[in-house]
């Protein structure tokens, strides 16, 4: 009996996980199916766009700047081992656009946005505001989740584009100031080697990550337990699940796009 109990626990956990995957999938399908059906809530959408897009710019920009700089240093050091220091501009650009821009941008948005959405909607749930919405003939999913998910899906690619540019600029600053590259040559090298698909694929990843982040925030918020503890747990689950899903989706999309 006691020998088997870890197995039973594992089984229960697996079943529990499968069940929550199912619930999340149903929730996602619900949100998507409401995207194009009225009523629409433009004011809520614009507010979400400001919150998710505009106010995330500083943190995404800073992250990209330092990452681009560090990347340039690393690639220079690695490239020096086989006299290939000249690849720095191209690899910084490709690395930022394809991987680091979308993934780090997505993670920063997950930290900022998934948490705040989950806390806000979770608080609404525990203070009966969601019930109140229903009694006022407003579908909470449509009023709360749809605008946020749509806003994140559209805003994160823009954040990624800005992050890419700032990251590449970070690499350029380090390249020119610390590694002795010629400024014009660095820029020319970047432009010559960077392909459109490097950028577009990163932006598509950004859209997927934005969708996942807002979806997790809304899902965990709307399913928040009771009391302050319930909201705390919902917030934590939203950030953790959004981050893990970003990594998983990143791998799948990379397979899809580049192999």
């Amino acid at each position: 009996m006691s020998l088997l109990s870890p197995v039973a626990a594992l089984g229960r956990m697996t079943l529990g996980m499968l069940a929550s995957f199912g619930r999340v999938a149903i929730f996602a399908a619900d949100v998507v199916s409401h995207l194009l059906r009225p009523p629409f809530y433009p004011r809520e959408f614009l507010q979400a766009l400001m919150q998710i897009g505009w106010f995330s710019l500083p943190v995404v920009g800073m992250t990209a700047l330092f990452t681009g700089g560090a990347l340039a240093l690393q690639i220079y050091a690695g490239g020096a081992r086989f006299s290939a220091e000249a690849v720095v501009p191209a690899i910084v650009a490709i690395g930022m656009a394809r991987e680091l821009g979308p993934v780090l941008g997505g993670l920063m948005v997950a930290a900022r946005v998934a948490s705040s959405i989950a806390a806000e909607i979770g608080t609404m749930k525990v203070t009966e505001q969601i019930d109140a919405l229903v009694t006022l003939s407003t579908n909470p999913l449509k009023y709360l989740a749809v605008p946020r998910v749509l806003a994140a899906t559209l805003a994160v690619p823009v954040l990624v584009a800005v992050g890419d540019s700032i990251g590449i600029m970070g690499g350029w600053i380090v390249g020119v100031q610390r590694l002795g590259f010629n400024s014009a040559a660095y820029i020319k090298n970047t432009v010559d080697f960077l392909e459109m698909w490097d950028i577009t694929s990163g932006l598509l990843k950004g859209a997927a990550f934005g969708f996942l982040v807002a979806l997790m925030g809304c899902y965990h918020g709307m399913n928040s337990g009771r009391g302050a503890q319930g909201v705390g747990k919902a917030t934590k689950s939203a950030v953790v699940s959004a981050s893990v899903l970003i990594f998983a989706a990143n791998y799948l999309l990379t397979e899809l796009f580049f192999s």
Binding site: P39, Q47, M124, T127, E128, Q129, D131, A132, L133, V134, T135, L136, S137, T138
Partner: protein, 248 residues
């Protein structure tokens, strides 16, 4: 006419409602009394479909509340939640006018605002609060805003969950009068939860006492004092001694 037959609800092992039978005639005011945690709020939420009952039947004018058009059904209701449940991202007047600014009852913004300010006045709040946010008001003021929101679209059926809790005696009087007025003048059906015996006498046509998951006693308010039921007597006189246990 709202009718409940054998309504049951459990949350896990907590068997809250154990077969509630109750009927509320249209245009009358029913007051629900009972100790805290006996499931009064849950009962209202079951009628509105915010909580799904496990057994029994709830009908509004003969139609089962779990079937039929949900929007049409909800458009007939107004509800004041126990905690107010104001939307804290919206201004006070936008809270009150929420239903008037979207959906079937949509009105121009200026008109919606005017109605909101008029409803706020009826719950004893001046126009200066209209542009504040809920967090800037006291608990009692928030409760009254919730009340204004519940009556904003002149619903046929209104539920008030502890409308006077947290109000001073004068404001309680204002709210009691308002609820009575809504029933008498607008012909609305009202269901009110309260612990305040003054409110009970001011608001009720009929009273029902919930205890042990069932309706322990129900009858016209005039019979409340003369009923021999020991549970009712203990409750209305606020005695610690009696059949209702004080540790629950």
């Amino acid at each position: 006419m709202i009718e409940l037959k054998g309504v049951e609800k459990r949350f896990g092992s907590n068997h809250v409602l154990r077969g509630v039978d109750l009927s509320i005639a249209s245009g009358t005011s029913m007051v629900i009394i009972g100790g805290s945690g006996t499931g009064k709020s849950v009962l209202l939420k079951c009628i509105l479909g915010l909580v799904h009952h496990d057994a029994g039947q709830i009908t509004l004018d003969g139609q089962d509340v779990t079937t039929g058009d949900r929007d049409e059904f909800l458009a007939r209701f107004g509800m004041l939640f126990q905690g107010g449940a104001l939307f804290d991202s919206l201004r006070i007047w936008e809270n009150v006018a929420f239903r008037l600014m979207r959906g079937a009852l949509k009105k121009p913004k200026a008109e919606a605002r005017e109605i909101a300010i008029e409803k706020l006045r009826r719950v004893g709040l001046g126009p200066q609060v209209a542009d504040l946010y809920p967090a800037e008001l006291s608990g009692g003021m928030q409760k009254r805003v919730g009340l204004a929101r519940a009556i904003a679209a002149n619903p046929e059926v209104i539920f008030f969950d502890e409308p006077t809790t947290g109000l001073d005696p004068i404001m309680s009087g204002v709210i009691n009068d308002l609820i009575r007025e809504i029933v008498v003048e607008m012909g609305a059906t009202a269901m009110t939860i309260t612990h305040d015996m003054t409110s009970v006498r001011a608001i009720a046509d009929n009273v029902a006492m919930l205890h042990g998951g069932k309706v322990r006693w129900t009858g016209p308010v005039s019979e409340l004092d003369s009923t021999p039921d020991p549970y009712v007597q203990q409750f209305i006189h606020g005695r610690a001694e009696g059949p209702i246990e004080s540790v629950r």
